[in-house]
C-alpha cells in the first residue's frame, strides 16, 4: 500500500519536473531565442529528479527523456530525432552519468541517515537496559542473599531477624513486580504502531479498583477522593491507566516530603474527564519539573527516603500511556505548596436511552 503510493508520488515528481523544464525551455526559446541554456536546464531537471526521488530508476528515466526532448524539440533538425550527431550523443551520455551519480550519492546519504537514527535508538535502548539491569540487580541481591542466608544458616538467626529478612524479600519482590509491569507497558507503547485496546470503563468502578490496589501497597496512606455524581464511562485500556494513577499516588507518597493530605479529584469539562492527583508536600524542584515526563530514565532522581524510586521510569511511562490515549498530562506546583499532576481523557458520548 505504502509502496504503491510512494511509486505514484515519485512518478508525479518526475513528470512534474520534466514538464516544468520543457515549459521553461519553450518560453526561453520563444522569447530570448538562445539555445545554449536549454541543455543546462534539462541537466538541472535530471539532477533535481535524482535528488528528490528514491532509487535510480526515476533519475535515469528523466535523463533519457530529457536527452530525447532536447534532441527532438530544441536542436537541429527541429522536431526530428537525430541521434547520429556526435554532439547530441555526447550530451545524452553526460546527462545519464549525472543522473546516475546523483542517484548513487543521494541513496547513500539516505541510507546513512536511517542508519544513524537506528543507531541512536539502539543507544537509547542500551542505556535503558543498562539502567534497568542495574536497578533489577539491587532487589535481586536482597532476595538472593536473604533467602540463601536463611536456608543455609537456619539456626543462627533469631525469629525476629528471620522475619525482618523475609519482610525485605517480600518488599523487593513486590518492587520487582511493579518494575516488570512498567517495562511491559513500555514494550506495549514503544512500537511505531501503538495499538491500545480501549474498552469503555465505568469511572467509579475504575477508581474503586485503583484505590484497592493502592491501599494494598500503602495501607496507612489515606486518599481523599472526589468524584462526579454522574454515570461516566471512559474508553481506555484500564490496566494501563490504572498504572498511571497508582504511579502518581505512589510518587506522592515517596517524594512529597511533609505531605499530610493526598487527594484524587476527578471532574468533567465538556467532553473531557480530568484526573487530578494533589498533595501538600514539598513540591517539585523547578529544574526537575521541566523534564519530568522526559527520558526513559533519570538515574539522579533516586531520592533519599525511598531507597529506590521508579519515578523516572514511572512518569515517562505515564506520559506515554496518556499520549497514546490521546490525552494530555501536566505537572505543576501549587501556589500554597505541594505538587499536582493532572491528566485528561476523552469520555464516551452520553447515549440517552
Amino acid at each position: 500500500m505504502k509502496n504503491i503510493s510512494n511509486v505514484i508520488i515519485n512518478i508525479i515528481v518526475t513528470a512534474f519536473i520534466l514538464t516544468a523544464c520543457f515549459v521553461i525551455c519553450l518560453i526561453i526559446q520563444n522569447t530570448i531565442g538562445t539555445y545554449s541554456l536549454i541543455p543546462a536546464i534539462f541537466v538541472l531537471g535530471a539532477f533535481l529528479t535524482s535528488l528528490i526521488t528514491a532509487g535510480y530508476i526515476y533519475g535515469i528515466i528523466s535523463a533519457v527523456v530529457s536527452v530525447l526532448a532536447v534532441d527532438f524539440a530544441f536542436e537541429f533538425p527541429y522536431f526530428k530525432l537525430n541521434l547520429t550527431i556526435t554532439e547530441n550523443l555526447v550530451s545524452a551520455i553526460i546527462m545519464i552519468i549525472i543522473a546516475f551519480v546523483t542517484c548513487t550519492l543521494t541513496t547513500k546519504l539516505k541510507k546513512q541517515e536511517a542508519f544513524k537514527a537506528a543507531g541512536e535508538k539502539e543507544k537509547m535502548r542500551a542505556d535503558l537496559l543498562r539502567a534497568i539491569s542495574h536497578d533489577l540487580r539491587t532487589p535481586l541481591t536482597t532476595i538472593y542473599g536473604a533467602s540463601s542466608a536463611i536456608l543455609e544458616n537456619k539456626d543462627d538467626f533469631s525469629e525476629e531477624q528471620k522475619t525482618k529478612m523475609l519482610q525485605s524479600i517480600k518488599e523487593d519482590a513486590a518492587w520487582l513486580t511493579r518494575m516488570v509491569e512498567n517495562l511491559l507497558s513500555i514494550t506495549k507503547l514503544d512500537g511505531d504502531n501503538v495499538k491500545i485496546l480501549k474498552a469503555s470503563t465505568v469511572l467509579d468502578e475504575f477508581i474503586d479498583s485503583v484505590l484497592i490496589k493502592f491501599n494494598k501497597r500503602y495501607p496507612n496512606q489515606e486518599v481523599i477522593v472526589d468524584l462526579p455524581d454522574e454515570f461516566i464511562t471512559i474508553p481506555m485500556d484500564a490496566m494501563l491507566i490504572e498504572q498511571v494513577v497508582v504511579n502518581m499516588l505512589e510518587n506522592a507518597v515517596c517524594h512529597a516530603e511533609g505531605m499530610t493530605r493526598l487527594c484524587l479529584n476527578v471532574f468533567t469539562l465538556s467532553n473531557k474527564v480530568i484526573f487530578e492527583i494533589k498533595d501538600n508536600g514539598c513540591g517539585i524542584d523547578n529544574e526537575r519539573l521541566k523534564n519530568i515526563f522526559k527520558g526513559y530514565y533519570n538515574s539522579d532522581n533516586v531520592s533519599s527516603d525511598c531507597k529506590r524510586s521508579n519515578a523516572g521510569i514511572g512518569l515517562s511511562v505515564c506520559s506515554a500511556i496518556i499520549k497514546a490515549h490521546g490525552g494530555d498530562i501536566k505537572a505543576e506546583n501549587q501556589k500554597d505548596g505541594g505538587a499536582v499532576f493532572r491528566f485528561t481523557l476523552d469520555m464516551e458520548e452520553q447515549v440517552n436511552e
Binding site: 513486580t177 469503555s200 465505568v202 477508581i207 474503586d208 436511552e353
Partner: protein
C-alpha cells in the same frame, strides 16, 4: 482422617511455582497431586477425580484451556486458572470456557488460599443454595423467597433487574462472573448495548448500597472482566 481431605490437582510446568503451590496447599490441609504438563494432568484428572484443579494456562505440550474444555465435558469440578498473562481477554476466555476463578502471577499465599477455599465452598453449596432461602455476608442479607435485600437490617429497595443481578451474583458468591455470563442470565440475549445496560444497573446498585470507592464493598469490580460478590459468611 486422611480420606476427608479435599484432593487438589495442580497442573503447572514451572517447578518452583509448582512446589510453592503444593507446599501451600499441603500446609493448608489439602491432599495434593501435581502434573507438569497437560497430558499427564489429563491422566491424573481421570484417575483421581480431584475436588479442585489449579491449572496453569501456558503449558509446554498443549494449552491449558484444552484440559479445561476436557474437564467441562463431563463435570463441574471447580477449576482455578493460574496465569502469567495480565491480558483481560485471556481471563475472560478462560472464565467463559468454564473456569471458576483465576489468579494472576505473581500471587500471595493468602490470595491463593482464599480462592481455593471459595471455589471449594461454592461447589459444595451450589446444589443447596436456595434451600434455606437466605444469603448472608457481612451485614448484607438476601431473602430469596421474598426477593428482598437488607443491609444492616434496613431494607434496600431494588428494581426487578437490580434484584435479579444481585441474586445471581450472590448465588455464585466468591466467583467472578463475566459481563456476558451475567447479561445472558438476566436478559437472555446479548447485544451491543448490553454491557452498558449492566454497568448502569451496577452503578445504581452501588449507589443504593452506599458503596464507597476503595472501601470494602460487597461487590468487587474486576475491570474488563466482570463482577464478584463477596463470600457468604
Amino acid at each position: 482422617m486422611n480420606n476427608n481431605k479435599y484432593k487438589i490437582l495442580v497442573v503447572e510446568d514451572e517447578d518452583n511455582i509448582s512446589n510453592l503451590v503444593c507446599t501451600l496447599l499441603e500446609a493448608g490441609g489439602y491432599q495434593v497431586i501435581s502434573a507438569k504438563n497437560c497430558s499427564s494432568g489429563q491422566m491424573l484428572y481421570f484417575s483421581h477425580r480431584p475436588d479442585l484443579i489449579i491449572l496453569d494456562l501456558g503449558l509446554p505440550d498443549i494449552d491449558g484451556t484444552e484440559l479445561l474444555k476436557e474437564v467441562r465435558k463431563d463435570s463441574l469440578t471447580p477449576v482455578i486458572v493460574l496465569s502469567a498473562r495480565t491480558d483481560e481477554t485471556d481471563k475472560v476466555a478462560a472464565l467463559d470456557i468454564g473456569a471458576n476463578d483465576y489468579v494472576t502471577k505473581p500471587f500471595g499465599s493468602a490470595e491463593l488460599m482464599a480462592r481455593v477455599r471459595s471455589a471449594l465452598r461454592t461447589s459444595r453449596h451450589s446444589s443447596g443454595n436456595f434451600s434455606n432461602g437466605i444469603f448472608e455476608a457481612d451485614g448484607l442479607m438476601i431473602d430469596y423467597d421474598a426477593r428482598r435485600v437488607f443491609i444492616d437490617n434496613s431494607e434496600i429497595k431494588l428494581t426487578q433487574t437490580e434484584y435479579n443481578i444481585i441474586a445471581f451474583l450472590s448465588v455464585h458468591s466468591g466467583k467472578v462472573l463475566t459481563y456476558s455470563a451475567i447479561i445472558k442470565e438476566i436478559w437472555g440475549y446479548n447485544d451491543l448495548g448490553s454491557i452498558k445496560k449492566l454497568q448502569v444497573n451496577m452503578a445504581n446498585i452501588r449507589k443504593k448500597f452506599g458503596a464507597k470507592p476503595g472501601k470494602k464493598n460487597y461487590i468487587v469490580n474486576e475491570l474488563g472482566v466482570g463482577y464478584r460478590m463477596c463470600e457468604r459468611s
